[in-house]
Structure formats: structure tokens, C-alpha cells
Symmetry: C2
Subunit: 311 residues, 2 copies
């Protein structure tokens, strides 16, 4: 139910890290690219094949260290439907390896259209009576600007299956305050209001560890708000971007966790994926470098959380 | 530049309608489905092929009547990467027929990730020096919850090419007010604030007919707000959903247009796509029924706008 499986994964691996899988070509070692381009040319197909080889190597190196991965849909869509096919393969492979998969697609729409996104990314598609899984992730990031009509179709599906969502509440980017920090006439900020909506939307989706299936995206780059939201939203699990490359430190995210070291999972994308470039090591060792960085991040985060325990 | 080409298309066809291409299997006539399923089985591939045949028939029947089409990404993603391949084929075919293509994907993210979405849907992807078009639409719907960081990567691309975006401002759904209607401490609503951001974001993208490349999504179901926003946002072109099936009438959208009958394009999806079901005619005539409904809608809308003129 809800995020129970994610929470159990975190406790088992003693690691509140989600590894972002945002495979830009620039991050991919030369030997992988040149082999794919030799086979298919510098085409969308060639790029999509390189992405797949790269991702598979990362997953093989990380699956026993991290509890979850988070492919970012944009980096697959930019390589056309061929890239989107790699997204599907990546999700399937990661799940086979026991990883909890969060598709970061920030989808949003209303009614039957949002239902279509829910089927696409978390559920099954009915093809004239045959139920087929299209992408089949465990969780999806969504944008709540459209209100309940855009959330209910996904929580309805989540209630019937073992899935969850993360709603954008306070994002990690510099301009996130332009809208999210505005003060409402009722004297609370928009992000806090959105956070409270998450608590409400999650009421029907309570898991056994005190967190619902409706989580929130809250950036590591705003530690004050992270702490405020943790205090206000006691049943909402946080997905925390902005750690590392965007500037958030382990101390910054301390406020995201509860007394058991639960309540949040911290994303690192470039930090882990591009560790080989940062280390200056050869591209052929990219997966080992990613593993080293993931272990390093695990240590930094668990220095903050202490032992992570089920409540 | 910006929406100039869309505006010229509207004037040429004397029709401010955009035909939604949201091809749910339930809308597709039996003969198209059974042929595709006979070839590929009740699979994602079979569904994707049925979608393509259906869309091609609609485009062939509509391209000289409507200025634009709007494929809704969710209805392609639900059929997996195979469905996404049909999205790509549909966009390409519609553009070959001279249609302005708005991909309704409500994408949103920050920085390089939003750049990836911009490349995917409006621009080109750089594959080790080769620039390849992934989806190549003319415009994209986007969600502005993340502020400028989520918009600038797209407007930067739009400024260099002939593309535009529509930002969600006041959406057509029943719960849109839950967030969008909240009053800010400064005494304006969130949707109006978002609308004013559109005006600001569009400053660098002014077209020759007085509208920028940053448009707004404003629902036909809220006529008062539509009128208010038209008065406030004089350089922002509106994409108006909610007409027909969602309850908006031609009178409701009167306030969306300027004195030249420009300033807005009104979407109809189910109304046109499912006209054959509503008329009770045979599935083999679905395209002709769609054309009849599009002509009917054109008449209703131009009764409201009068002759549509370039300023």
C-alpha cells in the first residue's frame, strides 16, 4: 500500500537515496556512444540504444545500494519515441532488480486525461479487454495546479494498486518562490496550502507506517521550508531534489526526516551519474564511480538520520 | 514569429477552432480497430496502429477547415512508446498538411530538464553534432507552477525558432478554483497573477499582430474570468478548452476574442472526434461526421466573432 514498499526498501538498505536516471548524451562515456552510433548512426535510435546501455550499467552497479531510482521523462522524450522505449525498458529492468521506480514526469491534467496518464505510468491500459502495462512505474511526480480533478484519477488508481504520487509543493529551483512563496489572503503561502492539499488527498491512501500514498516534492535548497513542511505534513512522504549539484547539503536536508530517519528520500542525479567525470576516471569505470558516489552519499545521509527504523 | 503563423491560419480559414486529437480506443470505429488487432493482436502496437489510421482519417477530413490540431499527449502515452510513435507520426502528418500543431502535454520542470522538454517537443535534439527533430510541434502547453526557471528554457528556444507556448492560467475543470482562484495577499487571484506572468514572459517574443509567443490556457467554462483575463492580458493569445462536451457554449467564449475576432482559439476534442457516435452514423463515416461538426462549430464561433481580420 502507498509508500510502504519504498519505506521497507529504505530501511532494508539503510539508505534514503533515490538515484536519478537522467541520461543526457553528454553524461555517457564515449565507448558506449561510439558503439551505438556505429550500429545505428547518430540518430534517435542510436542515442536511445546508448541511453539503455548506460542505464543498465548504472542499475547493475546501484541496485543493492539504493532503494529507488527516478528516471526523468524529459531526458527520454528528447530522444523521441525511441528514447521513450528506453524509458520503458529502464523501468522494467529496475523493477526486476527490486528497485522502487519513481517516474519523474510532473504530469498534470484533468478527468479522463489524467486517468490516461495514470494508466500510462502507474496502471494498465485496457486494449479492447486486454490489460497491458505501458510503463508501469511504482510512483509518479505530478503537478497540482489544476486541483483535485487532476489528482483524484491517480489516487483512485493508487488506492486499487500498490502505487503512489509525489505532488510538487516547494520545488528546488531559484524561481520557485515566484508563485509558490506568494502569501495568500489567509496568510499562508501557496506551497503550504499545496502541502495541506497533499495531506487531504492522502487521507484515503494511508500506509501502515504512517505515511500516505500522496507524497510531496520539497527541494533541499530551501531548508527552512523543508523543516516547516515536515512539521505541518506529518503523513506526507517527501521526495527531495536539489541535493548536490543544485547546492543542497546533507545538513540542509536534516529537517526532512522524522525521528525514525524516515519521511524523505533524497535525489541525486548528476552527482551519481557523472561521478566518473568528477573523479576524472576513465569512462569504462562509470558504473563503479557511480557506486562509490552512492555509497558516499549513503554515508553522508545516514550520518544525519542515524539508524533508519520502521516505526 | 510567435503565434503569427497560427493567426494567419485562423484568418485564412476564418475559423478559430483547434481540433483536439485525443484518440481513445473507445472513440475509434470498429473497422479500424479490428483491422489493426487482426494484424498485431490486442497489444500496444495494435492500439498504436489503430490510433494512427484514425488520426490520419481525421486530419484528411479537417485540414482545410481548421487552422490547427491539438494532440493530447496522455492519450498516446497510455499506449506506451508505440503510442508515442503515433504521436510523432501524427504531428508530422498534420504539419505536412499545413496545420499548426499544439502538443497538449502540460510539461513543466526546471533548467536543463525543461530545456530537454523544449528540444523534445518544439526544437531539435543534438546527437553528437547531428540535430534531429524528435516530435517537432509548433506549440506546447506548459504548467507555470515552478516560475520563470520552468518557462525561460522554452521561450529561449521559441525566440530562435517559430514556436510558442500556452501556459495554464485558468483551467476549465470544476476544481480549477481550489488553487487558481485563491486570493493573494495583494488582492489578486492566483490565475490573474499567472496571467500577468505570461504577459511578462512574452515581452521578448512579440509577434507582428500584437500577440506574443507566450499564450495562456483559459477555460470556456468560466466566462467571467475569460473576459477579465482578455481585458488584462492584451498581448496573450488564449487556448480555450472546455467548449462543447465540458459545457462551454459559443456565447461563453465571446469574451475571449478581440475586436478583430482574434486573440483566442477554441478547442473541441470529443465534439469533433466522436461526431459519428453522436450522429448515430456508421463508423465508416467518422471522418465525414467530424468534418460536418467542425463546419458547424466554425459557423457557431464566427457568428460570435464576425469576420476575422488581421489588425
Amino acid at each position: 500500500m502507498a509508500f510502504d514498499r519504498l519505506i521497507e526498501n529504505i530501511v532494508k538498505k539503510q539508505n534514503p537515496t533515490v538515484a536519478g536516471l537522467d541520461p543526457k548524451l553528454a553524461y555517457i562515456p564515449e565507448h558506449i556512444k561510439s558503439e551505438a552510433f556505429a550500429r545505428c548512426g547518430k540518430t534517435l535510435e542510436g542515442a536511445a540504444q546508448a541511453l539503455w546501455v548506460y542505464n543498465k550499467g548504472l542499475i547493475d552497479a546501484l541496485y543493492d545500494v539504493v532503494p529507488a531510482v527516478k528516471p526523468q521523462a524529459a531526458y527520454y522524450e528528447m530522444y523521441g519515441w525511441q528514447g521513450v522505449r528506453t524509458l520503458e525498458k529502464t523501468i522494467k529492468y529496475a523493477r526486476e532488480k527490486g528497485l522502487f521506480v519513481i517516474t519523474d514526469a510532473k504530469r498534470n491534467d484533468i478527468g479522463t486525461t489524467m486517468e490516461a496518464y495514470a494508466c500510462a505510468h502507474l496502471g494498465v491500459t485496457d486494449i479492447d479487454g486486454e490489460c497491458v502495462e505501458a510503463f508501469g512505474a511504482d510512483a509518479l511526480t505530478v503537478n497540482g495546479y489544476l486541483g483535485s480533478d487532476g489528482i483524484k484519477p491517480v489516487t483512485d488508481l493508487a488506492a486499487k494498486s500498490d502505487k503512489g504520487i509525489f505532488v510538487l509543493v516547494k520545488t528546488s529551483n531559484p524561481s520557485s518562490g515566484e508563485l509558490q512563496n506568494l502569501e495568500l489572503a489567509g496568510e499562508e503561502s501557496i506551497y503550504l496550502h499545496m502541502g495541506k492539499l497533499c495531506e487531504r488527498w492522502g487521507e484515503e491512501l494511508m500506509g501502515k507506517y504512517g505515511y500516505s500514498g500522496v507524497g510531496a516534492v520539497v527541494g533541499a535548497t530551501y531548508p527552512e521550508q523543508l523543516k516547516e513542511l515536515r512539521a505541518e505534513l506529518s503523513h506526507t512522504f517527501f521526495l527531495v531534489p536539489g541535493y548536490g549539484a543544485q547546492g543542497g547539503t546533507a545538513d540542509d536536508i536534516a529537517g526532512a526526516f522524522d525521528e525514525n530517519g524516515l519521511g524523505a528520500i533524497v535525489n541525486s542525479s548528476r552527482g551519481i551519474m557523472c561521478a566518473w567525470q568528477k573523479e576524472g576516471c576513465d569512462g569504462s569505470c562509470y558504473a563503479q564511480a557511480a557506486r562509490r558516489e552512492a555509497l558516499n552519499m549513503k554515508k553522508l545521509l545516514t550520518d544525519v538520520t542515524g539508524e533508519i527504523k520502521l516505526p
